[in-house]
């Protein structure tokens, strides 16, 4: 089937197999490899992208369903040399380790902050519960969002035992 999608502001018209997931379409047909496959089953969130402005698991969306839609991935998060505020906060707060969950995590945080300018800690955790991160243990990710929303003082730290 022929589809027309706008990804990160660029329009693509492509012939795509009807059983192709949006995730594979982005990664293999368009070379947009920020979104990752961690399970292909909707559980882990590594494949999270925006579909018409909402975070979805692109491993459970058919590419043909995105015909006429707008898709945003982590690649569209910052234009130009500067990182976006979310990306900067992740960087400042050591919220990235292996980085495999990061592209999905950033998108989930982006949707959260669009709808909720000052989320509580519980709301932050809920927003990213669908994004598994095996490395960080999440604390520094939650702190990145706190920092981003003016609450750097609520962050934890490391204590030195004399």
């Amino acid at each position: 089937m022929r589809i027309l999608v706008k990804v990160n502001g660029d329009t693509y018209e492509r012939e795509v197999a009807e059983n192709r997931t949006l995730l594979r379409f982005l990664r293999e047909d368009l070379g947009i490899t920020g979104p990752k496959e961690g399970c292909g089953m909707g559980e882990c969130g590594a494949c999270t992208v925006f579909l018409n402005g909402r975070a979805v698991n692109s491993c459970m969306v058919l590419a043909v369903e995105a015909d006429g839609a707008t898709v945003d991935t982590v690649e569209g998060e910052s234009k130009g040399p500067e990182l976006s505020e979310i990306q900067k906060a992740f960087e400042r707060n050591h919220a990235v380790q292996c980085g495999f969950c990061t592209p999905g995590m950033v998108m989930s945080v982006k949707e959260l902050l669009r709808d909720n300018a000052k989320p509580s800690v519980d709301e932050i955790k809920e927003a990213v519960e669908g994004n598994f991160c095996r490395c960080t243990g999440y604390a520094q990710i939650v702190e990145a969002v706190l920092d981003l929303t003016g609450r750097a003082s609520e962050k934890g730290g490391i204590g030195h035992v004399e």
Binding site: R27, E77, C101, G137
Partner: protein, 809 residues
């Protein structure tokens, strides 16, 4: 301590600069092997065994070979190779017999993934199903069938391991210290208990994936998501009998490993497929389900402890018997057995000790290294045991731990003498206890108990670990100065998220006296271009590569000074430098810039001197020895890192539901090179430890089929599973031979979390838990003295569950 400075003079070490790999990872431009595609690349799919144990009667690939797009099919019969790091017991594809559910029996490479899948489905395999050996204790029975009848013919590392041919024991590590009989005879109390835990998955978010190209002239190039490029190369060269300079292994960004990618994985398989397909590159990426059953997991453990204690609460004797279920293959798992053997008593002094640690073959997916390397599992047992022994003798468990903790002058199980520099486990225990208000319930907590009806309990558990590695483990680091005076660092230790490169960058910049932005650690590893490193495992990376990096920096400076001395017509001893230039101490205006010397200095008349400035640093572990095979005596430890967790939980005494309110973790890291990275490792490992403690584990049906090979029924912790409060502390007892005093800590955070949880739950509710993970139902059963469910292995329900993909032969 490898350092040129006093702690107060350090400018970069001890700070928390951002990670050097952040920008790529945050913008989606970091390339992982799973993102890669090469021109003409084929895709591989596997035919896997639906049985735990079966004889392969016949494999018919004719139909599959005729299918569109199929370029190569290989079966075990064509592949006469064995692989393994310590015991060479695994084939690339099963041959003759399948030994676990999910084992690969044939592989297809085709133009597209769909074609490969269709062809793999079309391969016909006829099996004669055999009765599997599922429980490792059953495998020890004299009449048990043998998983590896040919064990006696396998190659293995004889200095360290002792396979028992004719049995299912792939290795037995023994240790004898003092006289346990005398010790028990002198004991006031003797407590004997047994603890256990199931196999679990590492769950790197990026599953195993590799691309290989086997070109004419037997030149093999591999791109892989792995931890140890040189180990992949070495094992491939040994198996395929290829010269080492014919094989090149690249490792770009890696989406997590945790030990599961420490050794060799799917690389040989894609390599033989590529060879069969005439040299076209072939890619294989495991699905999440394959990650659970085709690729290795962590071994299950049954740990029996018998402890004799004096009237004063001193341990006089301890017998430690560890039964490790390595599953179908033991190539890496034997070393877990060995490491847990010599470390089995944890951070405590045992004057009379006996350890027998068995690696046992069964018909299940096979075990390998996993963060903590056995210590997570046996500390679960040991630190529960310390609690129960203390309880039995009527002593406070923390007091009991303090009394028996290793301190300067103590002797470890292998006879190593602990010194002032080894680290301080007492400080860790005390801080962990203090941070949670151990031993009392605050008024606020009492109020909370009243409101909820749930009971609050607090527990502490200590830990220790040394790197488990060959005694002669070595590494090297190259520094190359670029034309503008910046420096690029090459090493084959990989950074798959743990942040070592950022710390190495700080170390190099600190030693060079350069600003951080002048130093770059190059991410992609390449065995053709990077200097050797044994493996990225064991929490030895920072110490060993950090030392090599310091030595490399010193070598680079020496080369620069040599050129500068000639250029300035001075003696090297009269020179000093800053981030830009080398100058005469006495006349700082007389200087030569690094950028001028970087690729060779041109004198006024055009003569060149010096040549490109590089630095080479080599480091090899010092003073380690093989262990005596009968007594275990010797020096196995590069360094010992100690730690402790304190945990506060609340438990519903009726239902067994519980919540972790607080965890405080303390590690003696020697020196925190980058405190925020230390904290990231501390919390990341702690959460992984909580996963192991609360919900993770393999569940099999009675035929040995894995019932939960997916995230649907093998949950891992999410952000919502964070304890309400988390505190992280470091003790800094400098490591005498560590870079700026640092020692490893990235595995340690996962160790003893489960025991702290078990101890706190028992304190809160009285539930005596001997098996982890601790599910609510397990607490409920313990509270009601109901028979515990061992559905992790034999008594599990038979049949299909939503998360197990439908099986086809």
């Amino acid at each position: 301590m490898l350092s040129d400075k006093r702690p107060s003079e350090l400018e970069l070490v001890g700070k928390s600069p951002e990670r050097s790999d952040d920008v790529e990872k945050l913008t989606g431009s970091a390339t992982y092997v799973s993102d890669m595609s090469l021109p003409g690349m084929l895709h591989a799919q596997l035919k896997k065994s639906p049985h735990a144990r079966a004889r392969i009667v016949r494999i018919d690939t004719a139909k599959a070979r005729a299918m569109p797009g199929v370029r190569a099919i290989v079966t075990g019969d064509e592949l006469d190779y064995r692989l393994g790091l310590y015991v060479v017991d695994k084939r690339i594809l099963a041959r003759g017999e399948v030994r676990h559910y999910g084992e690969a029996v044939a592989a297809v490479a085709a133009d597209t993934l769909m074609q490969a899948k269709a062809a793999a489905d079309a391969i016909e395999v006829e099996y004669e199903v055999l009765k599997p050996i599922l429980h490792h204790m059953d495998a020890l029975k004299p009449d048990a069938p043998l998983v590896h009848p040919e064990l006696g013919s396998y190659a293995y590392m004889a200095a360290a391991f002792t396979p028992q041919p004719g049995t299912n024991v792939a290795n037995l590590t023994k240790l004898r210290k003092g006289d346990t009989e005398l010790g028990f005879a002198a004991s006031e109390w003797i407590v004997e208990r047994e603890y256990s835990c199931p196999s679990v998955q590492h769950v790197p978010m990026e599953t195993h994936v590799a691309i290989a190209k086997w070109e004419r002239g037997d030149r093999v190039t591999v791109w892989t998501s792995a931890q140890s490029p040189f180990t992949v190369r070495n094992l491939m060269c040994i198996a395929f009998k290829l010269p080492h300079n014919n094989v090149r292994v690249h490792i770009p960004y890696v989406g997590g490993g945790f030990g599961g990618k420490a050794g060799i994985g799917v690389e040989p398989l894609v390599a033989v497929l590529s060879r069969a397909a005439g040299g076209k590159p072939v890619k294989f990426q495991a699905t999440r389900e394959e990650e659970f059953s085709l690729l290795p997991c962590r071994s299950a453990l049954t740990y029996r402890l018998k402890t004799g204690v004096s009237t004063e609460g001193k341990i006089l004797a301890q017998e430690m018997t560890l039964y490790w279920d390595s599953g179908a293959y033991a190539d890496y798992a034997v070393n877990v057995t060995r490491a847990s053997g010599y470390s089995a008593s944890g951070p405590y002094e045992i004057p009379n000790a006996k350890v027998d640690s068995y690696t046992i073959y069964t018909n299940k997916p096979y075990g390998t290294a996993y963060r903590g390397f056995g210590h997570v599992e046996f500390h679960w047992a040991l630190e529960r045991h310390m609690e129960l022994v203390a309880q039995a003798i009527g002593m406070d468990p923390v007091e009991f731990r303090r009394k028996n903790a290793l301190r300067p002058g103590s002797k470890t199980l292998t006879g190593e003498v602990i010194t002032e520099h080894t680290g301080n486990v007492l400080k860790c225990i005390d801080k962990a206890a203090e941070a949670i208000g151990y031993g009392r319930i605050t008024p606020a907590e009492a109020e909370r108990e009243k409101k909820t009806g749930w009971k609050i309990g607090k527990g502490v558990a200590a830990l220790q670990k040394a790197p488990a590695m060959p005694s002669y483990t070595a590494t090297a680091v190259f520094l190359k100065m670029n034309e503008d005076g910046t420096v690029t660092v090459n090493l084959a230790l990989t950074d798959y998220g743990q942040g070592t490169y950022t710390s190495i960058r700080q170390i190099v910049a600190e030693r060079l006296g350069f600003p951080l932005d002048k130093v770059k650690v190059s991410f992609e590893c390449d065995t053709d271009k990077d200097p050797y490193d044994w493996q990225t495992v064991a929490s030895k990376g920072l110490l060993m590569s950090g030392n090599a990096a310091i030595l490399a920096a010193e070598d680079l400076l020496k080369n620069a000074y040599d050129t500068a001395a000639r250029a300035l017509r001075a003696q090297e001893c009269d020179l000093a430098h800053d981030g830009e230039k080398v100058y005469l101490k006495h006349h700082p205006s007389k200087a030569v810039r690094f950028s001028a010397m970087a690729v060779g200095l041109a004198l006024e008349n055009g003569n060149g001197i010096g040549g490109p400035i590089v630095g080479v640093g080599r480091y090899i572990a010092q003073g380690l020895t093989f262990l005596d095979k009968e007594t275990g005596e010797g020096n196995p430890a590069l360094d010992w890192t100690y730690g402790a967790h304190g945990m506060t939980v609340e438990v519903n005494p009726d239902t067994g539901e519980y919540r972790v309110l607080k965890i405080a973790s303390v590690y003696d890291v020697g020196k925190a090179i980058n405190p925020e990275i230390v904290r990231g490792q501390a919390i990341g490992g702690m959460m992984q430890g909580l996963g192991t403690a609360t919900c993770e584990g393999y569940i099999y049906d009675k035929d040995g089929r894995l019932l939960n090979p997916s995230f649907t029924d093998n949950k891992i912790p999410t952000a919502k599973d964070l304890p309400l409060e988390i505190e992280t502390y470091v003790v800094e007892t400098p490591q005498v031979d560590g870079p700026y005093g640092a020692r490893g800590m990235a595995e340690h955070s996962m160790i003893s979390v489960a025991a702290a949880l078990g101890n706190a739950i028992q304190k809160a509710s009285g539930a005596e838990i001997m098996h982890m993970p601790i599910r609510f139902e397990d607490v409920w059963r313990a509270l009601n003295a109901r028979e515990s469910i061992d559905n992790w292995i034999t008594k599990s329900p038979t049949g299909h569950c939503r998360s197990a993909p439908v099986q086809k032969n």
